[in-house]
Symmetry: C2
Subunit: 112 residues, 2 copies
Amino acid sequence: MKQVIVVNRSLALPKGKLAAQVAHAAVGAFVAAGAQAQMAWLQAGMPKIVVYAADADALVQLEIDAQQQQIPACLVHDAGRTVLPAGTITCLGLGPAPAAIVDRLTGGLPLV
Amino acid sequence: MKQVIVVNRSLALPKGKLAAQVAHAAVGAFVAAGAQAQMAWLQAGMPKIVVYAADADALVQLEIDAQQQQIPACLVHDAGRTVLPAGTITCLGLGPAPAAIVDRLTGGLPLV
């Protein structure tokens, strides 16, 4: 079981902002998962990686792909209180889900 | 209700690593919270900030303070698979908890 957080590279977020958005995606996707997936992932030590996709369109497409694979997902729209316009798509949390299934979607993406 | 993630500044973590550790702390502290605090915070849109403390000792002390205030907390020790020695304390997730209570512990800390 793993979680993959995919970041919108085109925004070049500052690191504190990036960390907060990634955390938001991680909790949101966790909450969207079933109890069995949650428990298995917690017991495995919450493995996760943070990767880049090119832009918001890529994140939206990945969310669609995840839904088709029944992978829990959380697309994060920034609230617009600080550096970004409200509604900006910053990142996408995927999983916890079996690594082999998530990797089909995100295995080719570079680490942040 | 808010969550505050406190980062060990002395490590100067690269941003992908930082984001993953902050996400770990956020999920860990969320799981440690009661159902009522979880629900109230989710409904509020999961407000969170990411701040710095000086070093691992400061994080350990904050964890003790949080326990005394009955704030859910998750101290993150790195698994040591990449850039850090195993067991390195990287960050501390606090809350969800009422903002006024968390701010007593972390209100003076600078944003990442």
